[in-house]
């Protein structure tokens, strides 16, 4: 503890790290949480609405069932997201919408496509192949681990009751 509260010189002043951080935080631009939530809501909602429209289209015009239509729906959304990433548009949507464009499947596709584009200059194997899951990798890892744990809990509960 003693080292944590030790004052350090900034010019002729003596300040502890806590004192400085408190003083500096005054100048931190405030994030408008309500506005951010609203933007995330409407952009995220619009992406989901688009997904629903696509699903209905696949059911009504292409003979898919409600269950099987999800595959072409997701594939179409991924295609749109990757295209917008390649055209340099998706990152602007992301800056505006925050979680709204990060959470749906389009955000996942963007994280993979953006890493693949970024590392293209280092070659296909070590560049694209080695780096495209740089950001998405942890989503996959923790997604699988969470699903595994949920599966075990469900199985155990089934055995007990």
């Amino acid at each position: 503890m003693a080292t944590k509260t030790k004052a350090k010189p900034i010019g002729s002043m003596q300040m502890t790290k806590q004192m400085y951080q408190q003083q500096a935080s005054k100048y931190q631009p405030k994030r408008n949480v309500m506005l951010n939530c609203f933007r995330a809501f409407w952009v995220g909602g619009t992406i989901c609405l688009l997904g629903q429209a696509l699903q209905n289209m696949y059911i009504h015009f292409f003979g898919f069932t409600e269950k099987t239509a999800s595959n072409p729906t997701v594939a179409t959304l991924i295609f749109i997201s990757v295209l917008l990433t390649g055209l340099g548009i998706y990152d602007n949507i992301g800056q505006y919408a925050g979680a709204g464009s990060a959470v749906p499947v389009t955000g996942f596709a963007n994280s993979i496509a953006s890493a693949a584009i970024e590392h293209r200059s280092e070659g296909f194997v070590l560049g694209v192949g080695g780096n495209m899951f740089k950001l998405a990798g942890s989503v996959i890892v923790f997604g699988v681990v969470a699903a595994f744990l949920a599966g075990i809990i469900k199985s155990v509960l089934k055995m007990i009751f």
Partner: protein, 341 residues
Amino acid sequence: MDSKKQTARISRQTWHFAEDVRVQASAVSVGPKEGEGPLASYFDQIHDDVYVGQQTWEDAERKLMENAVTILLQKASIAEKDVDVILAGDLLNQNITTNFTAEKLAIPLMGMYGACSTSMLTLATAAALVNAGYAQKAIAACSSHNATAERQYRYPTEYGGQKPPSAQWTVTGAGAGLVGIGGEGPRITYATMGKVTDMGIKDPFDMGSAMAPAAVSTIHSHFQDTGRTPEDYDLIVTGDLAAVGYPIVKELMRAQGYAMEDMYNDCGLMIYYPEQEVFAGGSGCASSAVVTYSYIMDQLNRGLLKRVLVCATGALLSPISYQQGNSIPCIAHAVAFEGGI
């Protein structure tokens, strides 16, 4: 002033250049966004393509530094072989931009790394080498590129993650200055080398708060060592503290009796218009280099500014260090210029 030895070292941090050390010429080469900024008319070369006609962003940054030095040599009407040493640095691993550029120029290289403080680190060292006679002509140069810095420190450029308003926009550009004895151009009179300062800021999207104490430390030492005050300068600039760090420096300096009001500005705030969507402002080696080697040199040469202090600020983090939970060590180096003498 008769003995160089007596006047060269003012203190552990501050050097005085007793010889007539001058920035004899300077040049900058920038990207498109900088070319749309308020200082555009002062830039020697503006590229309308962030790739600068190259295949990769890394090559683009190299081209920017090469171009800055080439234009510098043209402006000074000298050849590569007339330059004894180039002191240069950038933000990429192993200073790679600098290494390739120096190979092409075939000028002896002293590669330096001070993150975004590299502009004044190289210039101060160049002035010291020239003042001491180890070099007759030395070039100080540095570069940064928005896309290469994003890859180096953050996420892929097309990744759609949201950045907080305290984030900064890395300047795409390169600046170079030719240092020599005599001739024309602003004099370099003092340099104050900074100490690493770390006040425990860990957020790499908040470099302004992290670097402000380093700037205060160096500027304060500069005033103490030289006996000067803010009023002795027409302009004092920090390198890239932007909208968050700038008011912190003002407040901390005021609290220590050095009111830096109208004469104080920040290169990260000067290089872009606020409407250019650059979050808190510009950052990167090129922020201070481009502003110093274009606008400030021009104003000094034309006598519109008499005395200027440039304090370049650098966040010495590595991508690994902050992921491991370390705070951001910062540094600032200051160089004092005098025009019209």
